[in-house]
Amino acid sequence: MPIIIEQLSHTYLPGSQLAYPALGDVSLTVQDGEFLGIIGHTGSGKSTLIQHLNGLLLPTVGSVLVDGLDTREKKLRKQIRSLVGMVFQYPEYQLFEETVERDVAFGPKNMGLSEEEVAPRVEEALRLVGLNPSEFSEKSPFELSGGEKRRAALAGILAMRPKYLVLDEPMAGLDPLGRREILALIESLRLDYGTGIVMVSHSMDDVAMFADRIAVLDKGSLFMVGSPEDVFSHSAELLDMGLNLPQATQLVRALRERGIEIQKDYFRMEELALDLIGRWNHDR
């Protein structure tokens, strides 16, 4: 079953002078096992939206149903939070335990699992994120490097075996290889475990490369949701919103401005490269 967001509006501090409408009338479904990218300029409502997915924020109007469970029902919230894992920006700032093992075990313990159930989950989660349990379990999370801390924090969420994983800028601040490792991990969670992924990112290239569908938020409204191809064919509108374009799309625009006709709105470098090489060989 999916996550169904129906006519969701959210106003911060409603009824006060400081009332601020952050989201208006957003309807969107996160399908089982899909990779949904969320893009939008700062202040477009991305963070407000994702915090509704596990009931951290509740709708002012409308509803959010996670596998049929309404987030407004207080008694369902624990169940919802074990279904929807939430990884915030710079999650390593939330590490707090004395050892990596205890930090990763915190989530599943909180779900009420026994020691015997928790231990294999911790080990599995550490392996998934590429931290060898025998090497890292007993270390203090604060001894780890930046990239390792990020992965330890992620393991803490994965140990709860969420059905959906919501990530806010999971690659921010990582080096190029670290970025690729996190993306590969997310992709393998989806392929091997069928985890549904919701990822907020400023990197249009990453979203273009991995997302099945992309939701575009603008000033608290859903501008559109569609395949990367659909979304990045609206490049003028995206630029107007203050968003970037994937680098392949940027080059397509630059070539068109210079009088080269390119029919397709490419958003992946490999495909654009094939097109350009094809042209060169064809003309010879």
Partner: protein, 285 residues
Amino acid sequence: MTPNALIEIVNVGFQYIGAEKVALKNISLSIQKGEVVAIVGHNGSGKSTLCKMLNALLLPAEGYVTVEGMDTCDEKNLLEIRRRVGMVFQNPDNQLVTTIVEEDVGFGPENLGIKPSEIRTRVNEALQEVEMTEYAEKASHALSGGQKQRVAIAGLLAMQPEVLVLDEATAMLDPRGREEVLSTVRKLNRERGMTVVMITQFMEEALGADRVFVLSEGRLVMEGTPREVFNERTLLEESRLDAPAFVKLRDELIAAGLPVSHEAMTCDTLADELVRALQAQTENN
């Protein structure tokens, strides 16, 4: 000492207390007046440690660092070095100290004991340089990330520094905020000859530098123009880095026989060369 060197780093080594590995090993490099230098490297490569050596936030355990000839280890130079080397850090929310924008910009010169009328002039000029004049009396917490970083830069400009050091100052910003900060810094370099040291995880940002230094595991493994450095694809990958996307595309096109030069590293330069190549070919047919 190299003529014109603003900052000299000589055989610098450093290890954090209790750490297993050395943070920096035998680093030597010099930064010239008026140049833009990028320092890139994987997480934990020692970039930020090196950066903190530039204004004596950290002192080398081995070797030495000088700023305009002043040794950072000599305590009596501290104030002069800190005034000359302005630092912008990663988190926009950690750097503004007062509630109103112009007060924040005036904080530095006030601490230097400069007289109020002169502070006024400096604050106004600095805000103008970063294009934040209209926000002078606004609350600093309400600004966007990019605006906060520009105010932080203005606060440094008001101290009339010789060099701006940006320690991943764009890492937490959205694309628009990043561009605001980068264009501000480029303008300061172009128009005022400001020396700029940029530490970054975005390889595209390093393309705009005069020279790029690559750190890996605390060692300086490469140094050169962006063109030289980003052509060393294997060495980059061994250092957990990557070439910018347009450089990788360019190399693929060259390998397939397209007459594109190694100068093309950005969207616009690559587009220019591709147009030239494709049009010349059509005319030949």
